[in-house]
Amino acid sequence: MNYKEHKSEPFWWGMFSQGGVIAALLIPIHIFLCGLAVPLGLIDPELLSYERITALLQNPLVKLYLCVLLIFPLYHAAHRIRFTLAEIGLHSLAKVLPVLCYGGALAGTAVVLYILWVLL
């Protein structure tokens, strides 16, 4: 067997790993705030009103935060889906799966950047 160090995999795995941390630590906070705290009446719905949030989104630091929050978990999902599909029997597609999965994450990245910096 001729082994060769894999040069690109550390990048994808690093994104997967960071995405996992962000998805596990930050996303539950947002689920709690938007999905539970408002309906349960713990937070005044007015605090999350459209006007307030769109005004908040003009701040570049908020945009940066949202980039981190939304983009990294895309790569976490892409990596997970890639290996899950390979292991449930699509092993013959092992070469195409990274292109499809990470391609999807890259497209998602472009959409996030477009919405945050062009549309808003």
């Binding site: 067997m1 082994y3 060769k4 160090e5 894999h6 040069k7 995999e9 550390p10 990048f11 795995w13 690093g14 790993s17 290996f83 292991e87 092993h91």
Partner: protein, 250 residues
């Protein structure tokens, strides 16, 4: 002895000169309370059917040769008590994910090749002469790698690993953990010589962190942790070499 009980043990048989496919054979074994599965196999071989083949040596969880599937789980048969399975019937099969040579004996060539590939020995750039004395190590430095050095090459982790089952090129838990053991050793300077194997596509990146390797290990080695630590270190080093290409790549 008044405490004799009888247990039914179904063993996978494969005699390549007689049959094309493995078959099963059931034996009834009278056992004492302190018997392990290996004792039952030796009893069968000595008193019931001398044609049964299996590997064993030390009978005390050190040699790593008696690993088999016991009721579908990879176990050292010298450490699996019959009384824990009684009164149910037992199934003993060779370790899965390896070709069968005969009965319960598997072909471990693949594992041996992979083990050799990770160079599981201390590599020095330059050996110092014996007259300069031994390479000293503090208890803390020993602690860094000690658990990974407990591996007895029993291959239970390969039988438990679903990734190895699907992808036979995967270097696998024990070989990576042993490579990692030497990478963590303060006396070793061979990290770069192992990296192309350990950090190859067939190495750490194939692992999806199922973690069964660490669950079945009879010596409480944690190969999944070794792989995870190596992934983090390799990713950090790669990032460092991109940000600071002039820096030390070690």
């Amino acid at each position: 002895m008044s405490d004799l009980r009888t247990i039914k043990i179904t063993v996978l048989r494969y005699r390549p000169e007689e049959e094309d496919e493995p078959t099963e054979q059931t034996y009834e074994v009278e056992f004492r309370d302190d018997w392990v599965v290996l004792d039952a196999l030796n009893h069968i071989k000595d008193h019931i059917d001398g044609t049964l083949s299996f590997r064993w040596s030390c009978r005390m969880g050190v040699c790593g040769s008696c690993g088999m599937m016991v009721n579908g789980e990879p176990k050292l048969t010298c450490a699996a008590m019959l009384r824990d399975y009684y009164p149910n019937e037992m199934h003993v099969e060779p370790l899965v994910n390896f070709p069968i040579v005969r009965d319960l004996v598997t072909d471990m060539t693949d594992f041996m090749d992979k083990l050799k590939a990770v160079k599981p020995w201390i590599i020095r750039e330059e050996e110092k002469p014996v007259s300069e004395g031994e390479y000293l190590q503090t208890p803390d430095q020993l602690k860094d790698y000690k658990q990974f050095s407990q591996c007895i090459n029993c291959m239970l982790c390969y039988a438990a690993c679903p990734v190895y089952g699907l992808e036979h090129d995967f270097v696998g838990p024990a070989a990576i953990a042993l490579g990692h053991r030497y990478n963590l050793d303060s006396r070793d300077e061979g990290n770069q010589q192992r990296q192309h194997v350990i950090a190859s596509k067939e190495g750490i990146w194939e692992c999806t962190y199922v973690g069964e390797c660490s669950v079945v290990c009879p010596k409480h080695v944690d190969p999944a942790e070794a792989i995870q630590q190596t992934k983090v270190a390799t990713t950090t080093n790669r990032l460092k070499s991109l940000v600071m290409p002039w820096g030390n790549k070690k």
